[in-house]
Symmetry: C2
Subunit: 433 residues, 2 copies
């Protein structure tokens, strides 16, 4: 391998990339990283320099976890085929997976990506409700296929969302819309859901579903007012729609105390969508849903996914569950997560630019503001911090409507030692501003 991280070499890769993939293919950092190896929570560039990965959730149980790789390879050497033949793997895995949900969520459909999972969920909700309308937040990301792109307001402007989408604000307790009563935010936000329902019904479209990420990741990981989600879901169901919980980011124990993000809201979804961390990088995604919905959908139309549920992806996904259990990673997410959160709050006391600190388990949002009183977003500073962290060897990113929220979402085997490196480096970067 003649790979290096010399500027000449990186520029050559950048030029080849521009020619082949174009400028529409996004890269992280002002100074893009050329990575060649991963192990646990560490990523290594072409010069052998290591970076603490405090960003990637796809390598859920750690980059290149040997148990997952071994399971993948053993099955890839044995048989990789579709689900029109019988195979134990999809049954063994699926029964184990659905057992982690509430009893009513007992059936499974498997696909390859979060986009595909959300497409299934929307098709199912529309089919079973007889309605077309989808309610999502005004800064959501749910995928890149035509239909889920229309509800991914993070990159789809309002005029391109078409007649079936209504957006609502994320239930943010820090940046509260003008006129919202501080004393009853849950009710105020729930009213925005009612307005979306009313609008869809007024247009004769009806409500098929409210589809939300249960921790509102792209929206900046807001502290959700207690009772809001349950109230919103009640209204959606009263209008004949379903609640689709997008667990692509919160799922598989990241929140530290539960396996699924919806469990924090005291309401059981009708349909749940799963993605990124499910196969630790192997493309597998899924939909877990109520029996009546899967049955009605299955009886009304054909759905077959060539790669979905193949024995290799199910072997990898089962190994992820094995590692989560055997290495007690959900408990680790809770313990280390609390430690990081306390550390971020301590940094907030010393750095005025930190307006708010939020998080649960191993997912953290640190909102930067130029003025705590006005909450003016420190967007440019957030960008500088993300790049400065990368230069110091710690990988994070940013989220939120104002792109001013530092996003930290490390692989699950993140330890207290890793946490100290993350916090210490962030402290340095904030101090050097």
């Amino acid at each position: 391998m003649n790979d290096t991280n010399e500027p000449g070499k990186v520029n050559e890769l950048l030029e080849r990339r521009q020619r082949l993939l174009g400028s529409g293919s996004p890269l992280f950092y002002d100074n893009p990283l050329h990575l060649v190896r991963g192990e646990g929570v560490w990523l290594y560039d072409a010069d052998g320099r290591r970076y603490l990965d405090a960003y990637n959730n796809v390598p859920h149980v750690g980059h290149c976890h040997p148990r997952v790789v071994d399971a993948l390879c053993q099955q890839a050497r044995t048989l990789n085929t579709h689900t029109r033949y019988l195979h134990r793997n999809i049954l063994d895995y699926g029964e184990r997976l659905t057992a982690t949900f509430d009893d009513s969520l007992s059936m499974l459909m498997l696909a390859c990506t979060g986009s595909e999972a959300n497409e299934i969920a929307i098709r199912m909700a529309r089919r079973c409700s007889g309605n077309m309308g989808i309610i999502a937040t005004n800064f959501a990301y749910h995928g890149n296929t035509t239909t889920v792109a229309t509800i991914s307001s993070v990159f789809t402007p309002a005029k391109e969302r078409g007649p079936y989408v209504r957006t609502i604000p994320a239930p943010d307790s820090y940046r509260v819309p003008a006129g919202f009563p501080a004393g009853d935010l849950a009710a105020a936000y729930a009213k925005t859901v009612q307005a979306a329902i009313d609008s869809l019904e007024a247009d004769g479209v009806g409500v098929a579903a409210m589809l939300v990420d249960t921790i509102y990741s792209s929206e900046g990981l807001p502290d959700v007012p207690a009772g809001y989600v349950a109230d919103a879901v009640r209204r959606v169901r009263a209008a004949g729609g379903f609640f689709i919980a997008d667990e692509v980011q919160p799922g598989f124990g990241r929140m530290g105390d539960h396996m699924w993000g919806y469990q924090h809201h005291g309401v059981v979804p009708d349909i749940v969508t799963l993605g990124k961390p499910m196969g630790n990088g192997h493309p597998i995604s899924g939909v877990v849903a109520r029996r009546e919905l899967v049955t009605e959908f299955g009886e009304s139309t054909m759905y077959f996914n060539t790669f979905g549920g193949n024995p290799v992806s199910c072997a990898a996904a089962a190994a992820v569950l094995d590692v989560l259990e055997d290495e007690q990673l959900v408990e680790n997410a809770r313990v280390v997560g609390d430690y990081v959160l306390a550390g971020l709050r301590s940094l907030q006391k010393r750095h005025d630019i930190i307006g708010d600190v939020r998080g649960r388990g191993l997912f953290f949002a640190t909102e930067l503001v130029t003025d705590r009183a006005t909450q003016a977003p420190a967007t440019a500073v957030a960008k500088r911090i993300v790049n400065a962290m990368r230069d110091k060897g710690v990988l994070i990113s940013k989220i939120g409507v104002h792109d001013n929220v530092l996003k930290m979402r490390p692989p699950m085997p993140f330890s207290r030692e890793h946490a100290e490196l993350l916090l210490g480096t962030l402290d340095e970067c904030l101090t050097e501003l």
Copy 2:
């Protein structure tokens, strides 16, 4: 492993499957197969009985090909991450892949499934044409996400296709619609494309693209009248639309003389979509398109696919190209394909039920009819033959509007010896009718 193929064991798997996946999850054969191992063109059931795979195109270079598995495993042990970091694999593979296309098709977007590839193609065509309409055949399959489902008439009834889809008949030289002039079928079929264009324009929708499988697989692999595709594409382009070639089934050399199905029609597409065989079972798909289209799409919207183009999938896909070249499998597809085709034509002489035999490379259609004069489809017989072949240890399937066309599409290392087993077994089944 206590897996067996005893009826009791199979019934237990069927019951578990029904409970977990429901009846919407399709299985092949009246007597479903419980497979546990694959190697080359062979699949093995739980009792160790082997089956000649004359159906599956996903294991393109053969089930569990050791070079592909080794490439997959080596990269999975090293690094599996997304394309927001630089990595050589996507560039090395992508440059090599695009070099197999006409010069104008120079840019690449990678995803995980054929559905995702077709979704990208449609989004791109709509964005760059400013139109919404899609023209597809009336018995096409292009995927399972909301938008491509509307153009997958094989399972989406006309009333569910929405305002943006117009369907055309596949250009079939065997079953010619009433009133079509035998002397100029190409022109007659091209007129159906013109009618679709006119209808989309009359409704103010306009033409974004004609999207077709370049060998019309689901439609029954018709012999396409010479000049038809070029004429149809000319009309679509004159209306401001693009030609999207779905190469998910014909691509990667299956046709034996070219790498891509469109090369038989004397016209270069604007956008090409790739899927199933690309990673020999690893979920990878892609869009290869003209520079202007990828650039305009990339500048107008964000597109990012978490798993798409990751180093593991690119390593697997590169190994597929290695094996295709080193084992001269495209040449093999031509030579063995010609042998099978001649064998099928010979069977046609002895079995009246074979109304027509079609094929190219390693993809064959054998159309069964109860009466050659009336061409009445022998749908029930086709089903019996497919099941009888399975019971005798040879796996095939069926396609076509009347579900009466035997479909044979084996992995590419299919040899003359395998061909003889396929033909001999088919002869037996036809004789025993």
